[in-house]
């Protein structure tokens, strides 16, 4: 769908209302990873935490920089898997036998 006449531009991140132009500008300003694009534009910081937009942003990043799409790492996985009410953990009473840890894969860990 061509929105080029729309003042707002094409939205790539609906949660934070980030346009394609903003993403491309961030890349032109030096962003080379999804995390950096996120930090600059807020794309991926909304309720869906990048689930809707990271694919298309990866494609834009690959197109602008020539980095191969399969070399583009996500901005980092963190719990919770989806938005969850604070009371779900704050009021949890069940003792658990061993500490649960969520391993995350991050573009910025060695």
């Amino acid at each position: 769908m061509d929105n080029s006449k729309n003042e707002q531009g094409k939205l790539v991140c609906r949660c934070e209302e980030v346009t394609e132009e903003e993403v491309r500008q961030a890349i032109k300003d030096g962003a080379k990873t999804l995390r950096e694009i996120k930090m600059i534009t807020r794309a991926g910081m909304g309720l869906c935490q990048g689930r809707s937009c990271s694919k298309i942003i990866s494609l834009i990043l690959a197109e602008e920089t020539g980095i191969s799409i399969d070399k583009i790492e996500p901005a980092g996985y963190r719990p919770p898997l989806r938005p969850i009410a604070i009371s779900a953990l704050a009021k949890a009473k069940k003792k658990i036998g061993k500490k649960l840890k969520y391993k995350f894969s991050s573009a910025y860990n060695e």
Binding site: M39, P83, A85, I86, A90, K101
Partner: protein, 391 residues
């Protein structure tokens, strides 16, 4: 990447970015090297606030006041969500009122302003707080920023005025000959230089090992929770304070602290960004593993269980993300700034613990000191000598 430099800065967190910015402004030929992206270490995992409620007369306060001055000035040029939120200390234990009043008096003597909010004031202005809060103290001079946007602005500007910025570049070795630095070996090539500034935060020990030194740091891991966007919930920065006994062990100022909260050294702190998301903290665990940035279920649970004791309204708010950061404390909890006396050209800028943002002025202090300029305060308390002589 350039292969020569007057000075190489290692680390693009708040301290490294600040130092690079001021060095570039001095016209020095500076190359910045960072293993990950900008602000990817502790500076990217913080609450981003400078609270005056915990400051007392001394070097810590002086650094914080200067940082706020610098940030306020920079906020006229760059947008990093600089927000003069003030901070609210909540009191829920009447036996601590006298102690808090004593604190206020000492703070006031060095210009830290504060005033009480009574229970009636709270009903009117902070209706979301638990009824267990009997009173609160407001510190108007506290501020919040967005550290990511600040680092990005400082680095972009430094780049415009000639600094060579290299992200996603590992420092593999620093070659020293006849006790003088000769070059830095990176994953993108070598940089010939005689001066290196180690602003690598939690990784500063690793960098110091490359030149045969060993900067001892105590790494403390903290978790933070981010909520969905919600309407403004009163003062955008509030928390509880911890009284410490003579040994430095915390005495919880609150009436009820659970075993889990104690285990994770939870102290409630809440802040709200300009976008409406809230950050909830804070926990602390001693950590040895620099690669362990996991958020653990139990620490998140501990933070949230304490949070709803102070702000029950948060129960129904959804959280969307959690993250963890490493606080690099020096052994005497003072930042370490200054040149090595044994390795010529090796300069240290680390050990800021949980106050990298609050003490970002230390970056300017170091640059002014290195360039022979008049410094806004004495650098003497922070010099690397005091640690180096005891390594």
């Amino acid at each position: 990447m350039k292969n020569t430099a007057e000075i190489v800065v290692i680390g693009a967190g708040i301290i490294g970015s600040t130092i690079t910015y001021y060095l570039a402004k001095e016209g020095l030929d500076v190359v910045l090297v960072e293993q990950a992206g900008f602000c990817a270490g502790s500076s990217g995992a913080t609450h981003c606030q400078i609270g005056m409620h915990n400051r007392f007369p001394g070097w810590g306060l002086d650094l914080s006041i200067k940082s706020i001055e610098i940030l306020k000035d920079l906020s006229n040029q760059y947008d990093f969500e600089y927000d003069e939120t003030g901070s609210l200390l909540m009191i829920d234990n009447p036996s601590k009122l006298e102690w808090i009043e004593k604190r206020r008096e000492i703070q006031f003597s060095s210009g830290i302003k504060s005033y009480y909010l009574t229970r009636k004031d709270l009903d009117r202005e902070e209706p979301y707080l638990s009824q267990n809060i009997i009173s609160a103290v407001f510190y108007p001079q506290s501020v919040r920023i967005n550290s990511m946007r600040l680092c990005h602005a400082l680095i972009s500007d430094a780049r415009k005025i000639g600094a060579d910025i290299n992200l996603h570049t590992n420092v593999n070795d620093i070659i020293v000959k006849n006790r003088k630095i000769q070059k830095v070996k990176t994953s993108n090539g070598d940089i010939y230089t005689h001066n290196v500034i180690n602003a690598a935060g939690a990784w500063a020990t690793k960098i110091s090992n490359l030149v045969g030194l060993n900067i001892p740091l105590n790494i403390n891991k903290g978790n933070v929770i981010i909520t969905e966007k919600i309407p403004k919930l009163g003062i955008k920065y509030k928390g509880e304070i911890i009284l410490k006994d003579k040994k430095g062990n915390p005495i919880w100022a609150s009436n009820e602290i659970s075993e889990l909260e104690k285990e994770y050294s939870v102290r409630f702190v809440f802040s709200q960004t300009v976008h409406g998301n809230c950050l909830i903290g804070r926990s602390g665990e001693f950590s040895e593993n620099l690669y362990d940035r996991d958020t653990s279920y139990l620490s998140i649970r501990a933070i949230l269980s304490r949070a709803i004791k102070f702000m029950p309204i948060l129960e129904d708010v959804k959280f969307i993300r959690t993250f963890a950061g490493l606080r690099p404390y020096s052994i005497d909890e003072k930042p370490i700034l200054g040149p090595s006396q044994t390795v010529n050209g090796f300069i240290v800028a680390t050990g800021h613990g949980d106050k990298g943002i609050g003490w970002m002025s230390s970056g300017k202090l170091l640059v002014d000191h290195l360039c022979g300029r008049k410094t806004f305060m004495s650098i003497e308390p922070f010099l690397f000598d005091r640690i180096e002589n005891n390594i």
